[in-house]
Symmetry: C2
Subunit: 359 residues, 2 copies
DNA sequence: CTGTTAGCGCGTTCAT
DNA sequence: ATGAACGCGCTAACAG
């Protein structure tokens, strides 16, 4: 600043090797103060308090310079950002892809940028990302992955969430996470019950369940829903007929083989998600030579886009995935309320061709 | 600051209503200057120049206060961030979900946060997001959506990319975008040729193609690859036998019906992606009552996870989707080079059960 | 309506 | 090895 600035050519062409264009440069080019430039570009608070003429000059200068504001600087000054975080287990999983898509749709309607974090089911990573999102001053975060049924982890999660809240952050959870927060709650229990009831109505009395890691609250809820319904129907469910399918197609395929080996008389299988159902169908059809639904009926969960294309088309419990994401984002936008809100999203049984009465 | 501060209790407990904890507060609690606190927490440049004792005190204070640095402030001071952008057409599309997952995997290995933007195939939105990512000072962005074959758009894209580069940004493209940049190039042309050759080897001579919006370079390349191969094989392809399937399952289903109406003698169909192939299979099987592969052979493209579960299992051209994303992110990490680099990723024909010799 | 002046929280010289 | 002081780019008071 003390060095004599080179004589500025009036109406100098675009500055060159200066790195990112700053508001200051836009202001100079427009011949106004940076404050005015700022106001012209962002309308400050309330009314548009910049004169028509100056306003135009600023806008022109900004366009000519291809100016975009420095978001970090803006965030620092305003102490707020327009980014939200969405944390999922795995984007490649259609279940999360659908939720994320729903969330991103409304995010963009409101000019929000989303940071997507995938934990690959590692609780440690979830905590980690939450902290980083807090560091980023993300306005809010959607915890879209399943919760973990683990005391110690839940305690740490709550602590991190509290810290985030103390900083003005807002978190909305999808499903049970053991923390008090706005939450969008898919009807996992009643959905599973729906599946069981359908099969029971068809006449099935010998059930198998392909489950997932018990540590996930989603699994726990669905399993619990199925169990309760079975019990209230007076149908026994031997422990050997509940098997962990690992929440992946391949593991579920193996699990299904094991299940059928242990209980060859099974006539109905409830699979706790569609991804695994694909594996189960493959096992039944290609590994075991069992016809579905003639010999074994199968019901899935989620109604992922490919469910209708499976062989046979899968009867499954539909979850409004995109809605879950969208509603979660809505809750973010309507800001944190005094009391945590809960939105229950219902399931629907989609009848296709993987179920029929037992022989 | 002029008001007499309340007598501070020595070793005061955690400060309460102060909003986010600042480095300054950590420093005070540790009894050091903010400079030292900063160095202790980030090892500054070069050697770790903080004394063991002070270092410990700072780290303890930070932990007790649950301090996380203010990323925007850090970004402003360092004028660099650890966020990268990934722009796709639609996360719910398994093709993009897979690419994004691949990219996110390596991003996290390197401590990068990713901002995911979905354009829903709106070129305008692509430009928009690019500018916003530039504003965010994202280190780099992966343009993962297909390019658009449109002169005017390409010009504007190039301008935006140039501006981003001038700001120190780095862009890597997946596929052809008409801009000079590092690019990961899936073998769309030769992949489509592979599909055609396979069908031709089987004895097919009457082809149909379910294509997509011509404006997408991905479509253009795949279509071109198929056409060339057909031509070099001396097999005619009447214009009526190339139909736009809109890149969605439902539109493709409709398109397939139309196609078969126009050309009932078709024995082989090349579908330019697996999502559409699912629709084509449904049309053939459920709407038209045609058996695949007995009456009509079908080859898809991408080898999405569900391809093996379709009815019948889909023979398709595999693209290493996760790799595409991962390698793109790698290119970001190895920084921009003098000359733009190009990485060609090859396809592979995956034989399943949707093809056989014509009757 | 517009310009001036202070920070926002952090990294980074430059002294010490 | 540590601290003081300045600046990153922008918004928000506060004057005119």
């Amino acid at each position: 600043m003390s060095a004599p600035t080179p004589i500025p050519t009036p109406d100098a062409p675009l500055p060159r090797p200066t790195g990112p264009v700053t508001l200051q440069q836009v202001a100079e080019r427009a011949g106004v103060s940076s404050a005015t430039a700022s106001r012209a570009l962002h309308g400050s608070s309330g009314t548009r308090i910049v004169g028509e003429e100056l306003r135009r000059r600023v806008l022109d200068a900004a366009r000519e310079l291809r100016y975009v504001s420095n978001a970090p600087a803006q965030a620092l000054a305003r102490s707020t950002t327009s980014v939200v975080g969405v944390v999922v287990h795995d984007v490649a999983d259609p279940y999360f892809a659908a939720i994320a898509a729903g969330a991103m749709g409304v995010a963009r309607e409101h000019g929000l940028l989303v940071m997507l974090a995938a934990t690959f089911r590692d609780p440690e990573l979830e905590l980690d990302y939450l902290a980083r999102l807090r560091a980023q001053r993300a306005r809010a975060v959607v915890l879209a992955g399943s919760g973990f049924a683990d005391r110690e982890f839940t305690r740490r999660l709550a602590a991190e969430v509290d810290a985030y809240r103390a900083d003005g952050g807002h978190v909305v959870a999808v499903g049970e996470h053991g923390i008090a927060s706005d939450t969008v709650r898919p009807a996992n229990r009643s959905g599973a019950a729906l599946a069981v009831r359908h099969l029971h109505d068809l006449g099935h009395r010998d059930f198998g369940i392909v489950s997932g890691p018990r540590a996930l609250t989603t699994v726990r809820d669905r399993l619990d829903g199925a169990r309760r319904q079975l019990r209230s129907l007076g149908v026994p469910l031997p422990p050997a007929q509940v098997i962990d399918g690992g929440f992946t197609r391949e593991q579920a395929r193996v699990a299904a083989r094991t299940l059928l080996t242990r209980a060859p008389d099974l006539t109905a299988i409830v699979v706790l998600n569609d991804v695994m159902a694909a594996g189960v169908l493959a096992a039944l059809r290609d590994d075991l030579g069992l016809r579905v639904p003639d010999q074994v009926s199968v019901v899935g969960f989620d109604d992922l886009p490919f469910a209708a294309d499976l062989n046979p088309p899968l009867t499954t419990v539909r979850l409004p995935l995109a809605d879950i994401g969208a509603r979660a984002m809505d809750m973010i936008l309507t800001g944190p309320t005094i009391e945590p809100r809960t939105l229950d999203l219902d399931t629907e049984l989609i009848l296709r061709n993987s179920t029929m009465p037992p022989r």
